[in-house]
């Protein structure tokens, strides 16, 4: 069952409620739906990200490319959100701004209590170092470091991290810890990247096409690793993809097109990855 409820307002959620609603939903689908929606409406605030009127314009030579147009966007604690859109729809730009890798041309981005859109470069560096994890399409591992060392690279500069062993265990790579990237398959490399991103216990994980370079089966293993991190650690996750099939695994699906958010849908139920095909 995969019922969708169109949402016109922004809905804050807390992890426990989502957890309860998820199980209620399994037991009493219709009742749970209505309960879930009500809870959303009642519980305001408590954002991870709150972006308002976000625009981004790139100058490419003499041509101006508008990547984002007046976007309002929210991400809530513990949420698994899928950001869907064709290439050029502005989803990567949005993710880069949320991750402190880029700054908006206009508009504001609030991370918890911090105004990201006004932060300077060293504040953004500190923000990336402490609060946010990234997973990219091409893994971006350091080739000269083993899996364990790639994770340690981050834990060494974090305040209260997991051990590299814990993080790699979470993605099922306990037995490949001393391998170099060149000795790992694509899926394994991506899972190392996930372990590296979650090891610092970030509040949010931003994933840009994490399965883009992988075959279906490997892709699923990687997504399962993300799903597990979300459920067990409670990290909020935003996954960018152009693969609509993946949308079913999220709590919420945001659809982008031509630099705007065109649809914001709540999945009443997160589909098990075993059932998803593409």
């Amino acid at each position: 069952m995969n019922s969708k409820v169109k949402v016109t307002e922004r809905y804050p959620r807390i992890n426990l409620l989502r957890f309860v609603s998820y199980h209620l939903n399994n037991a009493f689908p219709i009742a749970a739906d209505s309960f879930f929606v009500r809870i959303h409406i009642q519980a305001k605030k408590n954002h991870i990200f709150e972006a308002r009127g976000l625009s981004k314009v790139y100058k490419m030579g003499e041509v101006e490319v508008v990547a984002l147009k007046d976007v309002d966007f929210d991400l809530f604690p513990g949420e698994m959100m899928v950001l869907l859109g064709a290439s050029g729809s502005g989803k990567s730009t949005l993710l880069n701004i949320l991750g402190g890798l880029d700054t908006p041309t206009s508009g504001s981005v609030m991370y918890e209590q911090t105004m990201l859109s006004e932060a300077n470069e060293s504040e953004l560096t500190q923000y990336r170092r402490k609060h946010v994890g990234f997973v990219f399409q091409f893994y971006n591992l350091i080739p000269s470091l083993t899996a364990r060392e790639n994770v340690a690279l981050v834990t060494e500069i974090s305040d209260n991290p997991m051990t590299p062993e814990e993080a790699l265990g979470l993605v099922g790579l306990s037995d490949r810890m001393d391998h170099f990237p060149a000795q790992l398959s694509g899926g394994e490399q991506q899972r190392v990247a996930i372990a590296r991103a979650v090891a610092k216990k970030p509040h949010v994980l931003l994933c840009d096409e994490p399965t883009g370079a992988l075959d279906v089966e490997t892709g699923k293993i990687v997504l399962k690793a993300l799903d597990r991190v979300n459920r067990e650690v409670g990290t909020a996750i935003a996954i960018i993809t152009h693969n609509a099939a993946i949308a079913a695994m999220g709590d919420r699906v945001v659809q982008m097109s031509s630099g705007r958010i065109v649809e914001n849908t709540i999945n009443t139920e997160r589909m098990s990855l075993d059932k998803i095909v593409w």
Binding site: T125, L145, F180
Partner: protein, 726 residues
């Protein structure tokens, strides 16, 4: 590519400057020697009648003979506090003279000219003499007023160095020519000569001619003939030419090796970033040859651009160098002259360096199959390196491990980068070592070995009674006499003409000093010789050598070698003066003295000394030291400028390229680190750590290479000890 061009430019500049000046000096010298009929052999003797000239002319292979009278005299110059030394020669008629004078002004001396002289141009310039001026000379004990009628340069005195000195001293040393008649009258040498110069035909064995000359001159106090190899002026010129030739070969060699290395890494990198373009070209049907040639041309154009800059600056610098040489060597037509063959050579070697350097990268581009080239390069392979077996590695943070593994992964690149930097360190070490070494040597020579204030040479061997004449001069503190006796030392088939210096035990002013600074006490019996002589004659301590005295009874005796001293200057043999007197037989005589002077009376004492008829010359070692310091401080600045320039160009090129390549190879990796929250500073540290580690490792290697290269024996000037021992 800029750094590659810069390194090439330096290489080519050095080739054109050093080899260019070498060729210019060489050809100027050759043409000067040829037009002036520069002699092949010289011989000094006590006195022989002119009739002996015929005998010499009859030696097989001798083509011309020029007999001369020559003496050293004190010149009493106005405005000079200390006396100058003049080396007087009789001027044979211009068409007979070997090593002919080249008049710069004035006229030739006539037979009837009694008190007229031609003076060496540099001496005239340094003392602002003009033709018509008069100078005072003490000739054979009598004061004479000599009128300057001409200035000239002589190929035998291109590099005019006073006896026992190392540097030209144009203010206080001049060469003067008088008519043979005037010279004969002044020195009681009418119808006789005491020096002869000869040219020989190239077909004859010079050693045969020398032995004939020695045989003929033996009864006339012959001191042994010598060739161009040991003729002072030619010797200095030769060593300068050789050093230019060497510098013009070694330095560009190092630089071109660096060029090849840099091209190799830059091109490999370029090709790996342009994989896709190569693939597209190949897919469109460009052949491997086309692609390979493209990159080869790319390399060649960078190198040729550098070579062009190097040529222009080399020609400019070569011109400047020749200007400097003009101050040292008297050549009539010394100009910087660039031979086409040198240009071709420069272009060829840079092209070879470009091709050798580019080959590795170009081969990679040729081998790349189009389909594979379209795919992005797979992640670099890393394995655990040697250092990881050590426990310290486990304690390193991940960032440091990245540095170590990156260095270990490409051992050849690391080694060559380190070698590049090491060579630039070595260039500095060699240069600084030479400066330091010279300083040390001079300090030892003038502060430990030659501590006298004044060195006096007598115009003939005198009894030690002269002590009373010298001791009477006010200000003289201490007098130590010595005796120099011309000898021929023979060991087996090897022989060498030189002088034995006789001294007393306990002499304090002039001592025998080993290169490490230890003072060697003079033994009562036997000979102490310089290491350089020991090497030439294959002598070791305890050997017996034949010593033939080249004066008086010309006795020949065997003498034991009791010590070998590694001294810096010249080729010396020392003996206790009493033993030397015994060896020579005859009366106990002295030929010179070392004096210490109280307070700052040195100039006055020197002036008084020069008026004593028996005194041939008075000189001050300190003046030699000052000349040296002056010369060094001028040369030092220029030398340092070039050394620092050369070594910076290499290190900057190697390190800059290394960092650029790392940045380009690892751009993605470094960007990932920024995403992970590493600050710009942390990422820069990571990028530069690799270069820093390589540089730090290469510095001690550079020290070592520098030490090995500089560790050759000090450049010694094998001063011919008997340069007319009058």
């Amino acid at each position: 590519m800029f750094s590659i061009a810069a390194v090439t430019a330096t290489a080519i500049m050095t080739v054109l400057t050093m080899r260019g000046t070498y060729e210019s000096l060489y050809s100027a010298r050759e043409s000067y020697y040829q037009t002036s009929r520069f002699p092949d052999v010289w011989a000094s003797l006590e006195r022989a009648p002119e009739s002996v000239k015929r005998q010499l002319q009859q030696i097989e292979g001798v083509s011309a003979v020029d007999t001369r009278i020559t003496f050293a005299s004190t010149l009493d110059l106005e405005n000079r506090t200390s006396p100058a030394i003049g080396r007087f020669y009789s001027a044979s008629p211009p068409d007979e003279m070997l090593g002919a004078l080249h008049l710069r002004s004035g006229r030739w001396v006539k037979d009837s000219d009694r008190d007229k002289v031609i003076v060496s141009e540099k001496f005239a310039l340094a003392n602002q003499f003009a033709n018509g001026d008069t100078l005072r000379a003490i000739i054979n004990g009598r004061l004479r007023h000599l009128e300057i009628i001409a200035t000239a340069i002589s190929p035998e005195h291109s590099y005019a160095v006073p006896q026992g000195s190392l540097f030209p001293d144009d203010e206080q040393y001049g060469v003067l020519w008088m008519s043979p008649k005037a010279m004969g009258a002044a020195y009681n040498m009418e119808g006789a000569f005491n020096e002869v110069a000869l040219t020989i035909s190239s077909r004859v064995d010079i050693r045969f001619v020398q032995s004939e000359i020695d045989r003929i001159l033996k009864p006339y106090g012959g001191l042994g003939s010598y060739t161009r190899k040991t003729q002072m002026s030619n010797l200095f010129l030769e060593s300068e030419l050789n050093s230019n030739k060497q510098t013009g070969t070694i330095i560009p060699g190092i630089f071109l090796a660096v060029v090849a290395f840099l091209l190799n890494i830059v091109l490999r990198r370029l090709i790996s970033t342009q994989r896709q373009e190569i693939a597209v070209l190949k897919a469109f049907g460009y052949t491997n040859m086309d692609v390979g040639l493209f990159y080869l041309k790319f390399a060649l154009s960078a190198v040729m651009a550098g070579a062009l800059v190097g040529m222009v600056s080399g020609v400019w610098l070569g011109g400047l160098m020749i200007d400097v040489y003009r101050d040292y060597f008297d050549f009539p037509d010394l100009t910087y002259h660039l031979s086409p063959s040198l240009l071709v050579f420069a272009v060829t070697v840079s092209a070879i360096a470009a091709v050798v350097g580019a080959l590795g990268g170009v081969r990679g581009a040729i081998r790349l199959p189009p389909a594979e080239a379209m795919r992005p390069q797979s992640p670099a392979r890393f394995t655990k390196g040697l250092l990881e077996h050590f426990s310290f590695f486990k304690r390193l943070p991940s960032a440091a491990r990245m540095v170590v593994r990156n260095i270990e992964r490409r051992p050849l690149k690391t080694i060559f980068s380190a070698l590049g930097v090491a060579f630039s360190v070595a260039i500095l070490v060699i240069g600084l070592f030479l400066f330091d070494g010279m300083d040390y040597m001079m300090d030892l020579q003038f502060n430990v070995a030659q501590r006298e204030d004044l060195t006096v040479a007598f115009n003939r061997p005198l009894p030690e009674r002269i002590r009373y004449d010298l001791g009477r001069i006010e200000g003289v503190n201490r007098i130590e006499f010595n005796r120099m006796v011309p000898v021929r030392i023979t060991k087996g088939a090897l022989k060498r003409e030189m002088a034995i210096t006789g001294r007393k035990v306990g002499d304090e002013l002039n001592r025998i000093v080993h290169s490490d600074g230890t003072i060697i006490p003079l033994p009562l019996h036997g000979l102490v010789v310089s290491q350089i002589l020991a090497d030439q004659l294959h002598i070791k301590r305890g050997d017996l050598v034949q010593v033939e005295i080249l004066e008086g009874e010309r006795r020949n005796e065997s003498v034991p070698i009791v010590g070998i001293v590694d001294d810096f200057l010249g080729m010396n043999a020392y003996m206790h003066i009493e033993s030397l007197n015994d060896l020579v037989r005859g009366p106990r005589l002295v030929t010179g003295a070392n004096l210490s002077v109280m307070g700052d009376n040195q100039d006055e004492v020197a002036k008084t000394l020069s008026t004593i008829p028996m005194v041939a010359s008075v000189s001050s070692p300190r003046r030699g030291f000052e000349l040296f310091e002056k010369q060094m401080s001028e040369g030092l600045m220029v030398g340092m400028f070039f050394l620092i320039g050369f070594s910076s160009i290499i290190s900057v090129a190697v390190i800059y390229n290394g960092a650029r390549i790392s940045l380009s190879e690892r751009g993605r990796e470094l960007a990932s680190l920024r995403v992970l929250g590493f600050s710009k500073k942390e990422v820069s540290v990571l990028l530069f750590s690799e270069q820093a580690v390589i540089t730090l490792c290469s510095i001690p290697i550079g020290w070592y290479i520098g030490k090995v290269l500089a560790g050759r024996p000090f450049p010694r000037w094998p001063l011919k000890a008997i340069d007319s021992p009058m």
